[in-house]
Subunit: 205 residues, 2 copies
């Protein structure tokens, strides 16, 4: 592209480094910012720098947080006996949005993926074992993606944790609420038949 | 959404103010930035603030520029006798990318649109007339969108400029190179028949 300004070209270049943002989109976004008041652009820029410089990871669950211990871990209304193991902060947000979970979390910071060079030591596994060793934990729920990487990670963690005297579970897999049978993939549909549940357990609350 | 951090929520909120960026996309972009080095995030932020604070509008053509007079207007290789009138800087970039135009530009900064409350006085019309009055100009090319607003603006400008001793033209409309007839809309196809050109003029150079 033929930019009339180096400043513009730089700003567009920075935006195209973001995932899923091409040059045309970047230009549209930058020109939009250029139309805003200086204070607004300043606020935009400052919010990013501030976030990057001041964000912390919860000392207990490793979720990103404004404090050394996150709000969930420091809340007295959460059940510390149940730990939900997730990949990253987005999963915490998704589960919190359901309002169905009152335990605490453990954020691994990724999934085991030999193809991407991510092994167990790159994840927050040791600190999970430490939390369990502390004795308060009664159940660990694996809430990881239903992918090869997710399954591998669950397999690995299960092997590490099975000798502790705690319950290990994974979130249920099957047909989504509102899902139409004919569009469900074969593996999910097949498994949902073999892992069928008693009718009275199946009702959405 | 249920953010685990106010800092994160702020940053996501700033991103969602950008056009076409929803909350999920904003979160993805911000978490990507959070994974980068502090210097990278700093460079990202600074490029926006710097752009907004230091950008100028060319004193002659009103295109955005790093200098008081833009590179096109100050170039000795551009023909100052031909002015191409466009809506905004994106159009200048698009035309520059064709490498087919060696004249100069005039950026209106918008199109006449009574529905959006944009009248001729909101656009750089007076300075265009002044440039023509200065005497060097031989041709004005209208390169505006083929929309109601674009047509209205051309109509207005034509009325203002028709008494000057200069050529007024608009960029050609018709079927795009590579376009298939059956997918062309009826108006474009009909007009392209009534405004047909001699064969030897129609060849793409």
């Amino acid at each position: 592209m033929n930019f009339s300004s180096k400043l513009l070209e730089n700003a567009v270049g920075e935006f195209t480094k973001l995932p899923g943002i091409g040059q045309k989109t970047a230009l549209r976004l930058v020109l939009h910012l250029l139309d805003q008041d200086r204070e607004d652009v300043d606020r935009f820029s400052r919010s990013m720098t501030k976030l990057r410089n001041e964000i912390q990871h919860c000392r207990v669950c490793h979720n990103i947080s404004d404090y050394t211990v996150c709000e969930v871990c420091s809340s007295h209304r959460r059940d510390r006996g149940t730990i939900c193991v997730v990949e990253d902060t987005r999963d915490v947000m998704a589960i919190e949005n359901t309002n169905q979970y009152s335990g605490v979390y453990h954020v691994l910071g990724g999934l085991i993926s030999p193809m991407d060079g991510v092994g167990p030591t790159d994840l927050q596994v040791d600190s999970l074992i430490e939390r369990i060793r502390d004795g308060e934990v009664k159940e660990v729920i694996f809430a990881l993606s239903a992918t090869m990487e997710g399954d591998t990670t669950v397999f690995y963690l299960h092997k590490k944790l099975k000798d502790f005297n705690i319950n290990l579970s994974t979130i249920a897999r099957g047909i989504a609420f509102g899902g139409e049978l004919e569009y469900v993939d074969e593996i999910t549909l097949g498994r949902s038949i073999t892992t069928r549940v008693p009718y009275e357990n199946s009702l959405a609350r």
